[in-house]
């Protein structure tokens, strides 16, 4: 806001909202909690399986590496090891998948103070690079058909967990709840 525009920029709107489209998916959600608290929750990557719809498991390998198992079409899964490339406590975490990932991807999550004391703006930017071929196409469909909606849903679940201590569900019985999560 109020920054000098770069030569290819026409306005202050984020590049991810360009009418011409954008390679990256970025979504911002406001969470009514301090940014350090949200950063710490996210930095413990194994926590994220709770809020990310498609994630089966996240195993922490060491301080910078975590192994992700994610649902894929037809009941299969895809896996990759994610490496933290930048880590600024309370502000930013960036990652890239290591060599050999089923679905190469990279991204960053940023935490900024929301104006007016409304908590934290959390912005997730994710880039997927699905493999070629038939399987690649199916995976691409899954990850990229409406990746902004998936990102928004995941961020909403993060918001629910941080603001209310639980993730909203309309399930009436435990069996229904279990079914929804699989």
């Amino acid at each position: 806001m109020g920054d000098i525009l770069t030569p290819d920029q026409q306005d202050d709107a984020p590049a991810t909202t360009a009418k011409a489209g954008s390679d990256a998916t970025a979504k911002t959600v406001t969470i009514n909690r301090p940014r350090q608290e949200i950063y710490e929750f996210w930095r413990n990557f194994s926590n994220l399986a709770q809020v990310m719809d498609n994630v089966v498991a996240i195993e922490t390998l060491d301080d910078r590496r975590s192994h992700w198992t994610v649902k894929a079409p037809g009941g299969s899964t895809v896996e990759w090891t994610s490496l933290v490339t930048e880590d600024r406590p309370g502000e930013l975490i960036a990652w890239i998948s290591e060599e050999g990932a089923d679905v190469p991807n990279s991204g960053r999550i940023e935490f900024r103070d929301a104006p007016g004391g409304r908590g934290t703006w959390v912005t997730a930017t994710i880039l997927y690079d699905p493999p070629a071929g038939i399987i690649g196409k199916v995976i691409a469909k899954m990850f990229q058909r409406e990746p902004h909606i998936q990102a928004r849903r995941d961020l909403r679940r993060l918001k629910q967990l941080m603001e209310t201590g639980e993730i909203a569900t309309a399930a009436r019985t435990k069996a229904q709840h279990e079914e929804e999560q699989n």
Binding site: T30, N32, D53, R118, G119, I149, R152, R153, D154, R156, R157, K159, Q160, E163, T164, G165, E166, I167, A168, T169, A170, A171, R172, T173, K174, A175, H177
Partner: protein, 397 residues
């Protein structure tokens, strides 16, 4: 358990379904003792609300006894509670501002997209009112799972009859907020379109807030009679021309504040209404909206329009010119029930507000489908049906 389930237009049935269970730590399970059929349930019954699924349990006006609590519920087993129809978390920006119906966390993540697309933002969850509002099972049942039970339900003191407090769940706060949104000033004349429960509570509320006169508009004689009991003057729009009558009854000034408590299913064969009906049946528009148009045209210059009535989608021929030229203010919204419950409970306990006059029929839950039929077909005689799951089937009152 037994529950009233939706199967399609004019097809609701009492079925046996699985009992609800505690899922999240802030949940509670309530054993229903009284649950009402709301006028807005008729929108579901008539098939106007999208995203309904066969088997959905209806009902968003209910109360009962706490029988099970999650680890983080503030309720205790055995307490009697009235449950607000809005499912709100209490911790988000909007809940902190007491805008509970705008809660950001009441809807499951996967249900938020529909409202995001239709309205620009997701709203609070609602009990028993389609999947767009969360897909939560409603309270026209023996038991219900209540999420965020530490924020919503209000505990009722012992010895207070269900019938006196049941309407804290929706229609009493809705009628109150409708009057509050009309920013009533002493000396005001307030016109209320629709003398259903919300309209009748708006009449009572408007007087409590200092209105000098209230003019109630409907076409059911029984409902107009009830409005008259609370001191309102009345217009039967089948007998009189509403706009002309309002002008004559206000010396040409028009009502200072207008409250539309009719909403999507405006009755009456007015020209614009007929066009709306054709459009609704051909999916060209979703809301029939004669009453809000008339409220805007009749309202005095610089006046206030309050719209508690439920509108779901788009409407055309909105008199935007009259709205702008006369400098009107319009306030509306789903009710922030949790905000109003404590003060209204006190008003009931102090006998300042009467709610029991409304109940025309009490039925056992097993006769719920019959109740819907009656409410739909006989809106003159049937002002409010309360279902009592524990009631002896042989003895409906």
């Amino acid at each position: 358990m037994r529950a009233l389930t939706w199967h399609g237009k004019h097809d609701v049935r009492v079925d046996t379904v699985d009992d609800p269970e505690i899922i999240n730590p802030r949940d509670a399970i309530i054993k229903i003792t009284s649950t009402a059929i709301c006028g807005s349930d008729l929108h579901l019954y008539d098939g106007y609300i999208p995203t309904m699924q066969k088997g959905d349990i209806l009902g968003h006006e209910f109360m009962g006894e706490v029988v099970e609590v999650g680890a983080k519920s503030s309720l205790q087993k055995g307490q009697r509670v009235v449950v607000p129809f809005t499912i709100s978390c209490g911790g988000c920006f909007h809940c902190e501002k007491h805008q509970y119906s705008a809660c950001e966390n009441g809807l499951p993540g996967e249900n938020q997209e529909i409202a995001q697309t239709l309205y620009g933002h997701p709203m609070a969850g609602l009990f028993g009112y389609s999947h767009m509002t969360g897909g939560y099972a409603g309270g026209q049942a023996e038991y219900v799972r209540v999420p965020f039970s530490d924020v919503g339900p209000i505990v009722i003191p012992d010895g207070v009859d269900d019938d006196k407090v049941l309407f804290l769940s929706d229609i009493l706060p809705t009628g109150w907020m409708a009057a509050e949104n009309a920013d009533i000033e002493p000396g005001d004349t307030v016109a209320v379109w629709g003398c259903g429960p919300v309209g009748l509570f708006a009449v009572q509320s408007a007087f409590l807030m200092g209105a000098e006169r209230v003019i109630a508009i409907d076409h059911f004689p029984r409902r107009l009679e009830l409005a008259r009991c609370f001191g309102a003057e009345t217009i039967n729009y089948e007998e009189s021309k509403t706009y002309d009558a309002l002008m004559e009854m206000t010396g040409g000034i028009g009502p200072d504040a207008c409250i539309d408590s009719v909403g999507m299913e405006a009755h009456g064969l007015f020209a614009d209404n007929v066009i709306d009906q054709i459009k609704v049946s051909t999916f060209m528009g979703t809301d029939r909206a004669h009453s809000i148009r008339q409220a805007i045209i009749a309202c005095r210059k610089g006046g206030r329009v309050s719209m508690p009535a439920v509108y779901g989608g788009f409407v055309d021929k909105f008199p935007l010119g009259a709205f702008m030229q006369k400098g009107l203010t319009l306030k509306t919204g789903q009710t922030h029930v949790q905000h109003y419950m404590p003060a209204l409970l006190n008003a009931i306990m102090d006998d300042k507000i009467d709610t029991t006059f409304l109940i025309s029929h009490r039925l056992p839950l097993e006769q719920a489908a019959e109740g819907y039929r009656m409410f739909h077909d006989k809106q003159n005689e049937v002002t409010k049906i309360v279902l009592k799951p524990g009631m002896d089937q042989a003895q409906p009152a």
